[in-house]
């Protein structure tokens, strides 16, 4: 990993999207043991995976991992914590204002 340079790699992954009444979730895991570090970007190839209502869809896809540079990783480590508010039900969205 360079201080300023970003490297990319591709990795196989499995995407699971559940659009059921008793579970709404979407997860992705790498099938080759690739590990994500702070600041890395992941792009799953192909069209959006849409599970029809009441269904679970599992697909194997390829993904591009863009590794963060050393500096970006450091920055993400320092600042990422402040995005925690999203876990709260009253987190901000852009739509409404008074």
């Amino acid at each position: 990993m360079g201080l300023f340079t970003r490297e990319t790699e591709t990795a196989p992954c499995q995407v699971e999207v559940s659009h059921k009444f008793d579970s709404l979730h979407a997860h992705m895991k790498f099938l080759n043991g690739a590990v994500i570090h702070p600041g890395d970007e992941v792009l799953v190839h192909g069209a959006p995976i849409m599970a029809p209502y009441g269904e679970v869809v599992i697909e194997d896809r390829m993904a591009t991992i863009t590794r963060a540079s050393k500096l970006e990783q450091l920055w993400t480590r320092m600042t990422g914590d402040f995005e925690f508010m999203e876990l709260c039900e009253f987190s901000f969205s852009e739509e409404v204002s008074v």
Partner: protein, 371 residues
């Protein structure tokens, strides 16, 4: 010909769902979302943390309480709760006052996003952790959050809003949470979530005429899930006294101030929603803070002094600054943002510097929902 048709909605496992007759194999179905539906793309964040540090947690000091809590979560007392029954009255979305409708949908979408984000975070912890105790906890919490998200999603569908899960194929950046910040933030978000839901539930028990949507009837059991998640994080923090002492007390104060003030500002952005519920947002805020503070005494050595003269004043200034900032953003005025941003920062500092109330933390952490 009489053929037994199976449907994936009735499937108990993923494998069954995929094998069901209605499933067209592995496709990305363009027709997944009905065209008439308005599409809302969920955009949760993705997280990493220091997984080695998390694996190093040893729950031995709280083992008895821990095992009891995990056993209770495994027994899944709320499993049957998230079903629509005859209590789910029909909702007249068509004739709902437009402003109320917009704010209520915004409320449902942000609730769904929060549950969903919790699910993504917990699942990631579960997947990358190696500590059996921790992995089990995160798996159980991910289950609950996905269930809540599914329930809200269903309410949104009735309103003609389709939640789009297509974000997975968009480029996404992984952010970073220090483990201790995960504990503070998730503990608080679960406990304040409990306080918010139960306060509305109890209010509507007394004033059923304000219950304009059946989902509020489900808030009690729902918030009991939030409560037990919070209990688990309280126990986690109890395993290491350093997490709630020394310099970390300042972090705790920061998280308390940030969460309370965000909630205040955000709730004031939904005036029609609160009016329909018959709730004054100022009263509601203080009531929720009071409950959350009383609960958080189980683990945090300080609580915020929400009766301090600077408290409400600071919240109001923060809210005004925030509304001005939003207006400047809407105008596209970069210069116009400077003033409100500075005022918001000053209001936050004023809130943060109110002396906190100190108290002794009990030896045993566990609590039961009591409100």
């Amino acid at each position: 010909m009489n053929v037994q048709r199976t449907h994936s909605a009735d499937a108990a496992t993923v494998e069954e769902a995929l094998a069901a007759d209605n499933h067209q194999g592995v496709v990305d179905s363009e027709g997944a979302t009905a065209l008439a539906m308005q599409n809302t793309l969920l955009t949760p964040r993705f997280y990493t943390t220091d997984f080695d540090e998390m694996d190093a947690i040893d729950v031995t000091p709280v083992r008895a309480d821990w095992d009891k809590l995990i056993a209770q979560m495994k027994s899944d007392p709320n499993k049957g709760h998230f079903k629509k029954n005859e209590d789910w009255d029909s909702v007249d979305w068509e004739n709902m006052e437009p402003r109320l409708k917009a704010e209520f949908i915004d409320f449902l979408v942000s609730s769904c996003t929060a549950e969903f984000s919790g699910c993504v975070l917990y699942k990631e912890m579960k997947r990358r952790g190696n500590n059996e105790d921790i992995v089990t906890l995160f798996q159980l919490m991910a289950r609950d959050e996905a269930r809540h998200a599914g329930f809200i999603n269903d309410a949104l569908r009735e309103a003609g809003i389709a939640v789009n899960l297509g974000f997975l194929t968009q480029k996404k950046k992984y952010t970073y949470f220090r483990p201790k910040f995960i504990y503070y933030a998730t503990y608080l978000s679960e406990k304040i979530g409990y306080a918010r839901y139960i306060t509305i539930y109890r209010h509507l028990e007394k004033h059923p005429e304000h219950r304009f949507h059946p989902i509020f009837k489900w808030f009690r059991e729902w918030c009991n899930d939030e409560f037990s998640h919070g209990e688990a994080f309280a126990l986690l923090m109890k395993t290491d006294p350093k997490l709630t002492s020394g310099g970390n007390v300042l972090w705790i104060k920061f998280f308390l101030t940030a969460v309370y003030s965000t909630m205040y500002v955000r709730d004031h952005q939904r005036p029609a929603f609160h009016e329909a519920l018959g709730v004054d947002p100022d009263w509601y805020g203080q009531e929720v803070f009071r409950k959350t503070s009383a609960i958080s005494e189980q683990i945090f050595p300080i609580t915020l002094d929400i009766d301090h003269p600077r408290w409400m004043k600071g919240l109001k200034r923060l809210q005004k600054a925030n509304a001005d900032l939003a207006a400047a953003k809407q105008r596209g005025s970069l210069l116009g943002r400077i003033g409100p941003s500075a005022r918001a920062a000053m209001a936050f500092v004023s809130l943060f510097t109110i002396p906190a109330k100190k108290h002794a933390v009990p030896d045993t952490t566990r609590m039961e929902p009591a409100y």
